[in-house]
Amino acid sequence: MMEAFNVGLALLILALAVWTVVARDTFAAVVGFVAYGLLLTLVWVQLHGIDVALTEAALGSGLTGALLIGAAARLRKTEGAARAERPGVSTRVAAALAAGCVTAALAVAVLALPDPAPTLAPETAANIAATGVGNPITAVLLAFRAMDTLLEAIVVLFAMIGVWSLAPDRAWGGRPGPLHRADPDGILAYLARVLPPIGLVVGLYIFWIGADLPGGKFQGATILAAMWLLVVMAGLADTPPIGSARLRIALVAGPVVFIAIGAAGVATAGAFLAYPDGLAKPLIKVIEWALLPSLALTLALILAGAPERPAK
């Protein structure tokens, strides 16, 4: 019974992936991509990777989907012209060959993997108690592979700086995104008043539970960012000017705390990002608490877009 469900799910995902690539309309392709991400979430649940499923739903499908919808809306004006341009036969053959080679290389690489796959899981499981964290994913991300997580948090910050760098000169230091004006008694303003208290609790809950059960700062931060953007889009609040010193401090505070604790590890535990004995769990908690607000702000500002209006 479950077998049939899994096969059906795999076929549906493949079909949706092909459709998303083939769709001529950009907006339709984005909708296909979001649905694809949600189906992928189900696959992760089937594989018992609940942490990955949460991340896929929140970031892979939700946040990326919203970014792509914004991009599709901006491209709408040029879409007709882009579609009218038909590449020549040689270009298309070359593109098909390149894509085919990449697919073949990926297939060879996957098929050449040793069976059973090499794994560090038994060693990780044997040493998990040393971190004092109940959720193995959190333990791996913040103790055994803390470097990756640190770089991830910084990459997100760089992505936001990349978005900012698209600002026209006159708007530099100004407020990101258009000025949203919604009916103050309308349905959107109503939702922006009702949902954020619930979203705050859910976001903090997912963050808090991450120490022992699936959840964590990235998933929690995405929900918090979504709540803030909802309030902004309903016209109840405005985005802060990117020149604001307070905003910039809030953005870098999380990574700075992470790096500081990592550097302290050199003196106290003998390696960058090493935690002294017995202090692993409290230090991991400090890092998580410091990263949450910075991540939520960064993710929200990536979605809000480049500065468009001078701060006045």
């Binding site: 349905i187 959107l188 109503y190 939702l191 009702v194 949902l195 619930i198």
Partner: protein
Amino acid sequence: MSLADLFTITAVSAGAVFFLAGTVGLLRFPDALTRLHALTKADNLGLGLVVLGLLPRVDGVLAGLKLVAIWLLALLAGAVVSQLIARAARRADPPA
């Protein structure tokens, strides 16, 4: 098969029927507003019945409350989003 199992099977199956009806409506109805009508009504009831059917199977009151909360949030989101889409559809294609 216990009474609780029977209840779960009945309620979840009924929920699935509503999902199916909503999907058929989405595919068959002629314009954006009627399609929205089919989707939101059927999904709200369908999800409600699935949640109702799963309630006897959860371990603990808290897990049950979480399920009900998910249904209520889906109701809220469905109602708001369908209003927003309907408004956008009306603006793009005003009634004669």
